[in-house]
């Protein structure tokens, strides 16, 4: 019961942070609030027994992602246009319809924490029961990630590699040596003029 209360309080805080992100115009504050949002999400994951996921979310969402967004803000302006969104009513209508459809979809779902839910009956019991004897590692998430579903993790490593290569292709600069030569030329000219 107290677990449910903690999760509900955390989600209410996340909703307040989300509304603040939507309303603020100063992008620096928005980026900081995104870091807070990810950290609250990581806390919610811990209460929901997903410790590996919480670790990754805290490191990636509240760490690297915030730093990258701040780097982007250093390269662009840090203030959003203060005009309110032009088509706010249309956006709210679309959001409302989507929300109604989603809530209608959840009416068929099993209750929160139900051990008889279909999700717990296919492959998961086999992984939990046999991971100790077949692989011998205590952390079932690592054994599923690296051994039972190792092929997917290979694809994910390729995705990370591609993202780094993509950022290098989009933003990498190759004119550094030329600029060093240019700088050497200009300092030669100015120092030559000053000395002689």
């Amino acid at each position: 019961m107290s677990d449910d209360l903690i999760i509900a309080v955390l989600m209410v805080f996340m909703a307040l942070t989300g509304v603040a992100i939507a309303r603020l115009h100063n992008l620096f504050a928005v980026v900081m609030l995104t870091g807070i949002f990810s950290l609250l999400g990581a806390a919610a994951y811990v209460v929901l027994d997903a410790v590996d996921v919480a670790f990754t979310e805290a490191a990636v969402g509240a760490g690297v992602s915030t730093v990258l967004m701040l780097g982007t803000l250093a390269l662009t302006n840090s203030e959003e246009k203060p005009a309110p969104p032009k088509n706010m009513l249309a956006a709210l209508a679309v959001v409302g319809i989507t929300g109604a459809v989603l809530i209608y979809g959840t009416l068929d779902m099993p209750h929160f924490g139900d051990p008889n839910a279909p999700i717990h009956h296919h492959v998961a019991p086999r992984y939990l029961n046999d991971s100790g004897t077949e692989i011998g590692l205590p952390n079932v998430v690592t054994s599923v990630l690296a051994s039972y579903r190792g092929y997917d993790t290979l694809g994910e490593t390729f995705v990370v590699f591609t993202a780094a290569a993509g950022v290098l292709a989009i933003l990498g600069r190759v004119r550094r040596p030329k600029r060093r030569d240019e700088r050497a030329q200009t300092t030669e000219q100015t120092s030559g003029g000053g000395k002689s």
Partner: protein, 119 residues
């Protein structure tokens, strides 16, 4: 299809978070704010999957003596991959925003549209 309120309350809270993220994406013109909204949306989707994987009375899926009930590890694996892929796409999106700023000198969507329609 009973309207059992307490059992589904968590899912409805998560859907509210998803809708906030969705609103941020579609209702704002600033590109960085759209990427922020996408991150908010992603975190709430991950929360939905992890909530589906929780078993009442279970603990984290790390095998230990004396513990009988564990939470489902499969959504955890799926979401681990999804988080890393999410940060990869965020990094690429932010790199594109930087280049758009250098080309158009603005990152507001309507100003970019106006420049595209003129030129």
């Amino acid at each position: 299809m009973s309207l059992d309120f307490p059992g589904l309350f968590n899912y409805w809270l998560i859907i509210i978070l998803m809708l906030i993220g969705f609103y941020i994406v579609i209702a704002h013109g600033n590109l960085v704010k759209k990427i922020v909204g996408l991150n908010v949306f992603q975190v709430s989707v991950f929360l939905l999957y992890i909530t589906m994987g929780k078993v009442e009375g279970g603990t984290a899926p790390i095998l230990a003596d004396g513990i009988e009930v564990y939470s489902n590890p499969l959504p955890h694996v799926l979401i681990l991959t999804a988080i890393v892929v999410g940060v990869a796409t965020t990094a690429l999106g932010l790199a594109l925003v930087v280049r758009i700023k250098e080309t158009y000198t603005t990152i507001e969507e309507d100003e970019i549209d106006a420049m595209e329609n003129q030129g």
